[in-house]
């Protein structure tokens, strides 16, 4: 690395408070730099809007209105952010073991499709609702887990690049769903859009009591916290982090790196598959092409912004949930194409990655340890 900073003298620390303040200052770097990247993206995007003769103030005001301004829009935002949390987890977890998986979209689509397909014989009005939903969720989780698990297995066993293979698997997954939805499992009573048979209102998951927010949001947050604990507080998590940091050292230590990779990928895929299940059981009521709405791709950006920390995924997913949720409003009010949010996301992603180069450059964050990290 070209930018090796001079090691700072190691500060002698005493007492818990001092220790804590140093920890906060050090981890502040991981908060400040991504926020800085988001701010710069906002500025660059504003310049783009100005050059098109649109008002950036209108744009950000509409995001505020459409995403966070009213109780209704906040509920809408939380709704949108629930698949985003889960698809971001699908990227974040494998990233901790050193894999860049971008196929969450495929696992979401297939997971959603599997839960809708398995529900067809079950939603007859006699099977208990809870049992049906459990089976549906299980189907989504298993199919999603296997789907991304295959990617992990191919990576470890054959050295197949996981980034490319996971995205290829996404296309295969979407084609597989289309194959069934337009063929064997097509609901012939619905001529408009090829879909599976609806699961029916009786079998849809309701809202969290007292809100208009679906349960998927709560489950997403719970999963993020559980995975965070799993990574930071368990032997499994430690083994994963060691393998991600240095696979050869991990192998030399006798850690089952291959197994860990496959397990991480399977859990990741299960998260995305669960997102698919919630899309079907909460929002669409059936599986069709609308499942491939791009949540998997937004999840990639969220995971990178969160630096692959499952807990940090939550607030960022809510932020982007707001942006995605207000997309329609922005398009209508400002006469912008529906890809506007995509451009903002792409721009943020590019600038975020550029900001990676800033880590370790600001002395203010470098306290209490030498700075020669890589």
């Amino acid at each position: 690395m070209a930018d090796i900073a001079q090691p700072l003298p190691i500060t002698v620390t005493s007492g818990r408070w001092n220790d804590l303040s140093i920890r906060i200052r050090r981890s502040a770097e991981y908060v400040v730099i991504p926020l800085f990247a988001i701010a710069i993206s906002g500025i660059v995007f504003s310049l783009l809007l100005l050059s098109l003769g649109k008002s950036p103030l209108d744009f950000f005001w509409l995001i505020e209105r459409g995403g966070f301004g009213t109780a209704f829009s906040i509920e809408n935002t939380l709704q949108t952010s629930s698949p985003l949390i889960l698809t971001a987890l699908c990227v974040a977890l494998p990233a901790r073991i050193g894999l860049v998986i971008i196929g969450g979209e495929g696992a979401l689509v297939l997971g959603g499709f599997a839960s809708a397909a398995i529900a067809i014989p079950l939603v007859d009005g006699h099977t208990p609702v809870l049992l049906t939903l459990s089976i549906m969720a299980l189907a989504g989780v298993i199919v999603g887990g296997i789907w991304i698990g295959i990617v992990g297995y191919l990576r470890y066993a054959r050295g197949v690049n996981e980034t490319i293979s996971s995205l290829l698997m996404t296309y295969i997954g979407i084609a597989t769903m289309n194959f069934f939805v337009e063929g064997a499992l097509r609901d012939l009573t619905n001529p408009n859009k090829p879909s599976t048979k609806p699961i029916g209102d009786a079998y849809m998951i309701g809202n969290i009591p007292g809100t208009e927010v679906h349960w998927g949001f709560a489950v997403g947050i719970a999963l993020a916290i559980v995975l965070s604990i799993l990574l930071s507080r368990t032997t499994f998590g430690f083994a994963v982090r060691v393998s991600g940091g240095n696979p050869r050292a991990a192998l030399a230590q006798g850690l089952p790196v291959g197994k860990l990779i496959v397990i991480c990928c399977a859990i990741a895929g299960a998260c995305a598959g669960l997102a698919g299940f919630f899309q079907v059981a909460e929002i669409q009521g059936r599986a069709n092409a609308s499942l491939a709405a791009g949540y998997g791709y937004t999840g990639i950006l969220i995971a990178f912004l969160a630096r692959h920390s499952p807990v940090a995924v939550i607030p960022i997913a809510i932020l982007f949930g707001g942006i995605v949720a207000s997309g329609g409003l922005i398009e209508r009010r400002m006469g912008l194409p529906d890809a506007t949010v995509l451009v903002l996301q792409g721009l943020t992603f590019v600038i975020l990655l550029m900001s990676e180069t800033l880590y370790g450059r600001f002395k203010i964050f470098q306290v209490g340890q030498s700075t020669d990290r890589t």
Binding site: M1, A2, D3, V100, I102, L154, R158, G159, V160, N161, T163, I164, S165, L167, L168, M169, Y171, I172, A175, T176, N178, F179, E182, G183, Y297, I300, L301, F304, L336, P337, D338, A339, T340, L342, V343, L344, Q345, G346, L347, F349, V350, L352, L353, M354, E356, T357, Y359
Partner: protein, 306 residues
């Protein structure tokens, strides 16, 4: 399937290979150059889509499709230059930047391409190699777009240049060993920057083929992963431009399976056959990833195979 039908399918496959392969070829050649210099540009999918949109828009506005092809190359090289510049910053990972450029490129293309979904732009012409036959199917299958020949020419020139020129040597050295390149006084960042930019120029031209010849219209689902498949194809072609061309032809044929079966009335499993190129790519990746020959031919600095 009877005899006549299989011949029809076979002709359609050959025609498909000649028609569908060109974008694969351009992206693969561009990526081959970039990877030879030791960097991976996964953003080629975005480059391809942006190239397609730019070509269509310019062709529509100016009435000249060839100007569109040029514009597509330039738009692509802007994305490539961005990728090349960002990756030279310390601590920045080229795979991640590629993903970001993929999302950014497609986003920009969809954003500015919205007004061009409806109107029809002047298309690139073609000529036929099928004058000798009276069979209409064969004559149609042998319609060749000049860009196909350009692609083959680029591949030949590239293969020759890698082996015989100073520039080729510099690119290969940068890709195989950054330390040697540095010792020789070569600027690694500059070589990779140029290789990525030129590579993305080629990928942009591939996009122009998509929107201006086959399928010959601009819409958001135009590429659907072809750029990505072409990147995977470079590994299969073991970083040889000539093998890139052959692999692209193979992929073209695989992509034509679905439509050609449909042309003889086999519509069942249409979606499955649409997935054929992706499945083929995946299997090819599985087969070629572990092979000893790939391990020998891979540029030493490449992060994609590590």
């Amino acid at each position: 399937m009877n005899n006549a039908a299989s011949i029809t399918v076979l002709i359609a496959l050959v025609g498909g290979a000649l028609r569908v392969s060109t974008p694969f070829m351009f992206v693969a050649l561009g990526e081959c150059l970039t990877e030879k210099a030791g960097r991976v540009n996964l953003g080629q999918e975005g480059t391809l889509v942006l190239g397609a949109m730019t070509a269509y828009a310019i062709s529509y506005q100016t009435g000249s499709p060839w100007l569109g092809v040029l514009g597509a190359g330039c738009a692509g090289s802007v994305l490539g230059a961005m990728h090349g510049y960002i990756c030279k910053l310390p601590r920045v990972n080229d795979i991640a930047v590629g993903i970001a450029m993929m999302l950014f490129g497609t986003g920009v293309a969809f954003f500015f391409g919205k007004p061009y979904i409806q109107p029809s732009a002047p298309q690139l012409g073609s000529f036929s190699l099928g004058a000798w036959t009276h069979n209409k199917d064969i004559a149609t299958a042998l319609q060749i777009n000049p860009l196909l020949l350009v692609g083959i020419a680029v591949a030949v020139v590239m293969a020759w240049a890698f082996a015989n020129t100073k520039w080729g040597l510099i690119v290969r050295m940068t890709g195989d060993s950054a330390a040697s390149a540095r010792a020789m006084g070569v600027s690694i960042d500059l070589v990779r920057f140029v290789a990525t930019t030129v590579g993305a120029f080629l990928a942009g031209i591939g996009g122009a083929f998509l929107s201006l010849y086959y399928p010959g219209a601009w819409n958001q689902g135009l590429s659907s992963g072809q750029g990505l498949m072409a990147v995977a194809l470079v590994i299969f072609a073991r970083w040889s431009p000539i093998r890139c061309v052959l692999a692209a032809l193979l992929f073209g044929a695989a992509g034509a399976i679905g439509p050609s079966l449909q042309s003889v009335g086999i519509t069942q499993g249409y979606y499955f056959f649409n997935a054929a190129p992706y499945i083929l790519t995946l299997f090819i990746m599985i087969a070629s990833a572990g092979s000893a020959r790939a391990a020998r031919d891979v540029p030493g600095e490449l992060s994609i195979t590590k």
